[in-house]
Point group: C2
Amino acid sequence: MESLENRKTIRKYKPEKIDESLLAEMIALASRTSTTGNMQLYSVVVSTDEADKKALAPFHFNQSSVTSAPAVLTICADFNRFVKWCENREAVPGYNNFISFVTAAIDALIFAQTFSMVAEERGLGICYLGTTTYNAQEIIDFLKLPKLVIPITTLTLGYPAEQPSLTDRLPVGAILHKGYYHDYTAADIDAFYRMKENLEENKQFIEENGKNTLAQVFTDVRYKKNDNEFFSERFLEVLRKQGFMK
Amino acid sequence: MESLENRKTIRKYKPEKIDESLLAEMIALASRTSTTGNMQLYSVVVSTDEADKKALAPFHFNQSSVTSAPAVLTICADFNRFVKWCENREAVPGYNNFISFVTAAIDALIFAQTFSMVAEERGLGICYLGTTTYNAQEIIDFLKLPKLVIPITTLTLGYPAEQPSLTDRLPVGAILHKGYYHDYTAADIDAFYRMKENLEENKQFIEENGKNTLAQVFTDVRYKKNDNEFFSERFLEVLRKQGFMK
């Protein structure tokens, strides 16, 4: 667990495949993790065929890790399996609503992170793809996800072919509040973000992007208001189409 | 990590307190986990005072683990800190929308599960409280969470004072799909749920609740349609009030 201290997201992988039985074993082990009412409201779609990975890549803006990874795991919030069980057992399910989506998404993410830590402990590397919720509809169509199933995150997985440098984190005081939320003063913000802003790589990042501050790289280049609004509408539409907003 | 095979949710704790520096150290270690664009879109509010835990308990339907745990950690999706940083750095943030909430919730849950595994490795026990999203508004008020901060899950934490028996899980084939989602036939459902349905404790559970099937215990007693619809409306209202639905 102390290896967490030095963990890195891995985006370049060796061509070496992941043994099918190892993958199933890691998924089974990760499924021991916490789950709401022991309902296990998630599913994993594993893509290992070249053609499948190539088809998924554009939905993840062609991030190279998608095609270079021996396995791509799309992790879904899934109430379909549970509802089918109910319907086959004289039980009338009531899970076509927003809170049920949230509950299933929580289950899916707890599972995803447990799986990631299991995989990392076995010497594998992972990368989370935040693009999953941006292009959920395209992923749903390609992976044939039925109603009440929504992709929440994607993990690319493989044996590391790179050793990236450690990224910075905020001081623990920035994320930890005692008793109640102590809102941040301008001085707090200065103190908590100072180290990040002083990193040579971040100064370069600002210059490369032609910006004045590191924050502007986020607001104007990486996570833009217009994009966020566009993806918000799209994802809400996915919730409706997959049957979670009745 | 193999201890995962035998992990159990712990709801009863020894009175022994958790050292403050240990808690901070575990939170710092867990913050090494994956995070979207290294934004760390989460915060943790730690409640250790008896009065605070007593006040939180009703929002979690007075589950005994809340007051008996030496520490209660409310884990929040948090865009407030990041937006304050942007505003103090000539950057115009655009994160008051649904996809930004989803992104922050993903960050918060990845962090929560990493923290849980760190804590369990140190001999502590945890319990996730799904009630967090049901009564988010009350928690927001009590913990003074500002706009763009929403509680997503809660962990009760302490040294175990019980050794519960291992709970069942579905076979790995039930959650793993190869290439695309293979929807479940009635025969699949029978096969995947057979073990769960045959467990003596689940048969008792059906009888105690006066139901015909285990699924009915979920639909009619534990996670009811009316409750789900009520909590869905409430949580969507929280998203609006906290500023994520602009």
